[in-house]
């Protein structure tokens, strides 16, 4: 089963490797192409670039609209991560450990935000927050993003809790710790990899989200909304520089999560 070429490699295997190579090329090409573009010296989308410069990174840093949007997105994503991790972890405990009528229904409700299309939720939230005059308020976006992030936290933390050996917690309790103290001091540190992964999922799902932010943000743009507007109106390579920064950020986060997290894949 080694992909290394061997004499007598069957034809279907060669075809398989070629096919996979093409698919990997297709998947990576858009990520790779933004790197040379972002270092272009030309204001037009020329490829290959006529010369190299850092001017689009300078343009990004000096443009307060871009920086405001970035900071706003970071603020929203961090708040979403905290809110969704706390609520989602508690819910996961309740769902895995508790036994009460209607638990199956609660489980369904907690996963439903993944099934309901984003556009439906976005306009529903828009009409709700418009009524309480919260359009343009960054906290409204946090609430909307947390709705989408909670299911991820429930899935990842719930999976860890199902395989967690509760004997450790019981041991701590038999040594005199209360239930909550045992969870806080014994259980949570042991499922830390799942918590790290859950936080990563929550952060990225908020940081990349466009449609909810588009409806709830008003004129206060998040980074994805600013990118969306720029793509529609004026394509200049500043957006390539922003893209490179995002690809680098995600790669770094992935390295961190693969060191400290678990189950960073949605299935597996």
């Amino acid at each position: 089963m080694s992909p290394r070429g061997r004499p007598g490699l069957p034809a279907w295997r060669i075809a398989l490797y070629a096919w996979c190579g093409l698919v990997f090329f297709f998947l990576m090409m858009p990520l790779v192409i933004v790197f040379p573009l972002s270092f272009s010296s030309s204001p037009y989308l020329q490829f290959p670039p006529p010369g190299w410069s850092l001017r689009w990174y300078v343009a990004y840093v000096n443009d307060t609209a871009w920086i405001d949007a970035t900071l706003r997105s970071v603020k929203i994503a961090v708040s979403t991560t905290v809110l969704a991790t706390v609520l989602g972890t508690m819910l996961a405990f309740g769902l895995v450990r508790g036994r009460y009528p209607g638990k199956a229904l609660v489980n369904q409700v907690s996963l439903m935000p993944l099934i309901v299309p984003g556009i439906i939720y976005s306009i529903a939230a828009y009409s709700l927050f418009a009524q309480v005059k919260m359009i343009g308020d960054w906290r409204a976006i946090v609430l909307g993003h947390a709705v989408h992030a909670i299911p991820y936290v429930v899935i990842v933390v719930g999976a860890a809790l199902r395989t967690y050996d509760e004997a450790y917690e019981l041991a701590a309790m038999s040594l005199g710790a209360g239930r909550l103290r045992a969870i806080w001091r014994v259980t949570l540190p042991q499922i830390r990899p799942a918590l790290v992964s859950a936080m990563f999922l929550a952060f990225i799902s908020s940081f990349d989200e466009l449609v909810v932010a588009m409806f709830l943000g008003g004129s206060n743009m998040t980074l994805p909304k600013k990118m969306f507007d720029n793509i529609l109106n004026e394509i200049d390579p500043t957006i390539a520089a922003v893209s490179v920064l995002q690809v680098v950020l995600v790669s770094l986060l992935l390295v961190v999560v693969s060191r400290f997290g678990a189950g960073a894949k949605p299935v597996g």
Partner: protein, 289 residues
């Protein structure tokens, strides 16, 4: 060892006693209230707008007006195309990932995960650069003399399909990979040992064993496709109208909330039909993650 065995048995033991019930309820309540207040309630309120006037006129418009029927049909067709292409691209890749040796598995998984985690806007922008009239691909093909005039790759169905397949391919690969990793290689050897040719081993043994993964992947990709907004809005150039794009414009441009609500009900019904229909058919083999 006894402690571990006992622990394994107790790992799924629910909390006992009335205090434990109270505790479980207290743990569940905040998130449940949050989801009821900020998710379920607004969504139900929106859906109810579709019948607010006491008539079914918005539904009649959505389901009989030729223009809108066409949008619904196009949406389902695009979702079917995307699912089929993702399956064709993803099945061999998942097989490779499930059977290759290190370091190839890790490298392959990184090549799937890195795009998966990259912002959809970054990727959509990159596709516009690649596929445009003066884009990278057309330049390359023109300069090498393979084509005489630029190919229309952007602002049409081709562009939307390429962009959507790129976003959704990982959703096909992950469930396939999860199922393929659990296939017992002994079964394949047994079939070969009994004299089945390679094609028969695949068709009679491997494909049926991996079918749950295929169905999970297709369901997931189809459901996500029919609700897609960003990619058709940016790569379709206003020519590819999918139902989510239509809902957005009804709210933003025309403030036609009752019609947007009726379209939302139709979209949600399509989604749930596919989700529960396939899940029922295959007895909960679908893996969401």
């Amino acid at each position: 060892m006894t402690a571990i065995a006992a622990g394994a048995r107790s790992a799924r033991t629910p909390w006992r006693g009335w205090r434990a019930h109270v505790l479980a309820a207290l743990f569940t309540a905040p998130a449940l209230l949050f989801l009821l207040l900020f998710f379920l309630w607004p969504v139900l309120r929106l859906l109810s707008l579709s019948v607010e006037g006491g008539s079914l006129a918005p539904y009649q418009k959505a389901l009989t007006d030729g223009l809108y029927v066409q949008v619904l049909f196009n949406t389902a067709l695009i979702a079917a195309y995307v699912s089929a292409v993702c399956l064709a691209l993803g099945y061999p890749v998942a097989y490779f990932l499930a059977n290759a040796r290190e370091p190839w598995v890790t490298i392959g998984i990184v090549f799937v995960l890195l795009p998966f985690w990259t912002s959809i806007l970054v990727r959509t922008y990159a596709w516009m650069v690649l596929l445009g009239r003066n884009g990278v691909i057309n330049r390359l093909l023109l300069e090498t003399g393979l084509i005489a005039a630029p190919l229309p790759l952007l602002n049409n169905l081709t562009g939307v399909l390429i962009g959507m397949v790129h976003v959704l391919l990982p959703y096909m690969i992950f469930p396939l990979y999860a199922v393929m990793r659990r296939v017992d290689p002994g079964l394949l050897s047994a079939a070969e040992g009994l004299g089945a040719p390679g094609w028969q081993v695949f068709r009679r043994v491997y494909l049926p064993l991996t079918l749950p993964g295929v169905l999970a992947g297709v369901t997931l990709v189809f459901i996500l496709s029919i609700g897609f907004f960003i990619t058709p809005a940016l790569l379709g150039g206003g020519k590819v109208i999918m139902i989510a794009v239509l809902i957005e414009s009804q709210v933003r441009q025309f403030l036609a909330w009752d019609f947007a609500a009726a379209l939302s009900v139709v979209l949600l019904a399509m989604t749930l039909l596919v989700y529960f229909g396939l899940r029922r058919l295959f007895r909960g083999d679908l893996q969401w993650g």
